[in-house]
Amino acid sequence: MGKSNKRGYFGIYGGRFVPETLMPALEELEKAFVVAKRDKNFLNTFYTLLKDYVGRPTPLYFAERLTKHLGGAKIYLKREDLAHTGAHKINNALGQALLAKMIMNKERVIAETGAGQHGVATATAAALVGLKCDIYMGTEDTQRQALNVFRMTLLGAQVIPVDAGSKTLKDAINEALRDWTTNVRNTHYVMGTVFGPHPYPLLVKFFQSIIGVETKRQILKKEGRLPDLLIACVGGGSNSIGLFNAFLRYSNVQMIGVEAGGKGIETGLHAARFAGGSLGIFQGCLSYVLQNEDGNILDTHSVSAGLDYASVGPEHAYLRDIGRVKYTCATDEEALQAFELLSRVEGITPALESAHAVAEAVKIAPKMSKDSIIVVNLSGRGDKDVQHVARLRGISL
C-alpha cells in the first residue's frame, strides 16, 4: 500500500510533468536518492543529526487535560512542535540539504515557503551543512509571517518576495521552479512537501517517515497497543504522510487528514482540494486541484499559510481513493478555537496548521469510547502565528 511504480505513480496520481530542462535534474535526484538510501555514511550522518541537532525523538505526550475536557478518547500529541526550528519541516530540509551536499555536490539550495516554516528549516539546514540558500515567498505570506522572514535572513538566507499571481505558496513554487530551470546545474531545489514531480513525493516521505516510526514505538511502550486513530493536517501533506506511513499496513488504525476549510466550502474561500477540487496536472504532478472548468488554478484561502495551497500530494489522492485515509476539513474559526483551547488547557500553542488537526480531535474524541486512543500530529508550534491571531481577534499588540 502506498507504493508507487517506477514513474512515480500512486494509482493514477503523481508522475512527472515539468519542462524538459528539469528532467535531467530529476533523473539525477532520483539516482542520488537511491544511492543515499543505501549509503551508510549518509544515513548515519542524517540520523545522528536528527538526534543531536533536531532533538529527536520528539515526545509523544498524553494530553490528559484535553482528554478530560473532551470526555472521550485518550488523546496523545506527537510533539513535532518541539523539533528544532519549531516544526516537522526540518526533517526533510535537513535530509535534502545533506543529499545536495554529500551526494550531489551542489553549491546552492532554493526552496519555496508558505508559512515560512519550510523556509526557516531549509535556511537552517543550509547554514548547518554550508550551502548558499535562497527562499521564495509570496508577498501575501511575507506580511502574514514577517517574523519568519527575519529568521531566514538571520540564518544567512536570502528571501526573495514573489509578487505574481495570488502572491502565496503556489506562486512561490512557480518562481522557485523558474529559478531551478535557470540554475539547475549547481542548484538543488528543496521541495517542502510530498508534492511535485517524481521523485519528490517519495523523497520527502522518506525523510518524514521518522515521525510515524517513532510514534509507533512510543505508543507501544506507553499503551502496549497501536492507536485507533491518527489525525494530521494536510497542506501538501508531508507531516501527515510522515505520521501515517508506518501505520498504513495496520488496517485497524484509522486515519484522518484535515484540509483547510477556510471560511467554509460553500463560500469558495478555502483550500479543501478533496471537498472542492477535481483532477488536474499542476506543478509537476497529477492530483486533486482547485481549478475552474478551463483548467486554470483558483485562488485559495486559509487562515494558515501552510495549508493555503491549490493541490495536494498525489499519495493522499491515492490513499483517499482506496479508502485507507479519510479526508475532512476544519474551518478557519474551528482552527482558531482549537488554537486557543490547546493553549489554555495544555499550555501548548499549536501552529495554525496543526490547529486544524486539533480541531478534528475536538469534534471526534467525544464520540469515541474512553479506552480508545487518538494520536494527533502536532506538526508545528504556534509562536509564528501569535501576532496574526491577535490581529484576527482585533487585539493590537
Binding site: G165, F282, G295, N296
Partner: protein, 256 residues
C-alpha cells in the same frame, strides 16, 4: 483541412534551402479581436508558422513578459475553448501551432481537445510541461487527428533523452537555446554548437527558441537550425505599440 502541416511546411522550406520564421503571440492578449489582427499581420509579413499561446494561471516555463500577457488574456476571459472556436471561425492560411500548458488540455479532455483542434485547423501542438515519458496518450490522439507534436530539447538534455525526444517529435524539434525561462537573455552554453549538432544529426528539422530577442540574435542562431522562434520580444513589442510590431516582424523575417 489537410493534416500534419507543420512537417510539410518545414520540408518545403528545407527543399528551398530556407529557414522557418516562427513568431509567438499569446491568444487573447489583450483580447481575441486583437489576436486576429496580429495573426493577419504575421501572415502578411510571411511568418512560416505561428505559435499561438494559450493563457494559463501558472506558466512556470515563462518569464515576466509572457506571464503578463497570460494575465491580460485571462482577464479578457480567454479560455482554450474560446481559442478553438476563434480559430475555427478564422480565415487564415499560415499553419498554427498551439503552445499550451498541459492542464487546460487535460481538463478539456485529451481526445476532445485534439478533435476540436483539428476542426479548428490547428497544425501542431507544444506542451512545455509534457515530458516524453508522459506523452503516450497525447501522441496517440495527435496522430489520429493529424496534428504534429513538437517536443522540447533543453541544453541539459542527455544524449539518451535527446534520442527519445526526437523520436516522439513530428514537424520539428524545439531546441531550447538557454537553461532558463522564456524571455531571458540569450547566453549560449559553450557546448551549444556541439549539442544542437547532435540533435540535428537525427535528421529531423530543429527550430530554436527561448531568449532570441533581436534580428541579430535570430540571424546568428538561424545558421545552426532549420528555423527560429521569437516570443517574448514580439509580445513586448506588440504590447508597447502595435505599429512598431510590424517593423520588428519585418526585420526578424529578413534576418532569418
Amino acid at each position: 483541412m489537410k493534416g500534419f502541416r507543420v512537417r510539410e511546411t518545414l520540408e518545403i522550406l528545407k527543399r528551398k534551402n530556407k529557414k522557418a520564421f516562427i513568431p509567438y503571440i499569446m491568444a487573447g492578449d489583450p483580447n481575441l479581436e486583437e489576436t486576429e489582427k496580429r495573426l493577419k499581420l504575421l501572415e502578411e509579413e510571411k511568418a512560416d508558422l505561428v505559435e499561438l499561446g494559450v493563457p494559463f494561471t501558472d506558466p512556470l516555463a515563462d518569464g515576466p513578459t509572457i506571464q503578463a500577457a497570460a494575465y491580460r488574456a485571462l482577464k479578457s476571459g480567454t479560455t482554450l475553448k474560446k481559442i478553438l472556436d476563434f480559430l475555427k471561425a478564422l480565415n487564415i492560411s499560415v499553419p498554427i501551432v498551439l503552445m499550451t500548458y498541459l492542464n487546460p488540455v487535460f481538463c478539456y479532455g485529451i481526445e476532445r481537445f485534439f478533435k476540436d483542434a483539428k476542426n479548428a485547423s490547428v497544425s501542431g501542438v507544444i506542451f512545455p510541461d509534457l515530458t516524453v515519458e508522459e506523452s503516450e496518450q497525447y501522441v496517440k490522439y495527435a496522430k489520429k487527428y493529424e496534428i504534429d507534436t513538437i517536443f522540447l530539447v533543453a541544453p541539459t538534455s542527455t544524449p539518451k533523452r535527446v534520442s527519445k525526444i526526437v523520436k516522439a517529435s513530428t514537424g520539428f524539434v524545439y531546441y531550447v537555446s538557454i537553461t532558463g525561462i522564456t524571455g531571458a537573455a540569450l547566453r549560449l552554453d559553450k557546448d551549444f554548437k556541439k549539442h544542437i549538432g547532435y540533435v540535428r544529426s537525427f535528421g529531423k528539422p530543429v527550430c530554436i527558441g527561448f531568449g532570441v530577442s533581436t534580428p541579430e540574435e535570430a540571424r546568428y542562431v538561424a545558421q545552426f537550425a532549420d528555423g527560429v522562434i521569437v516570443g517574448s520580444a514580439i509580445v513586448k513589442k506588440f504590447y508597447e505599440n502595435f505599429s512598431d510590431g510590424r517593423d520588428f516582424i519585418k526585420s526578424l523575417r529578413e534576418a532569418i
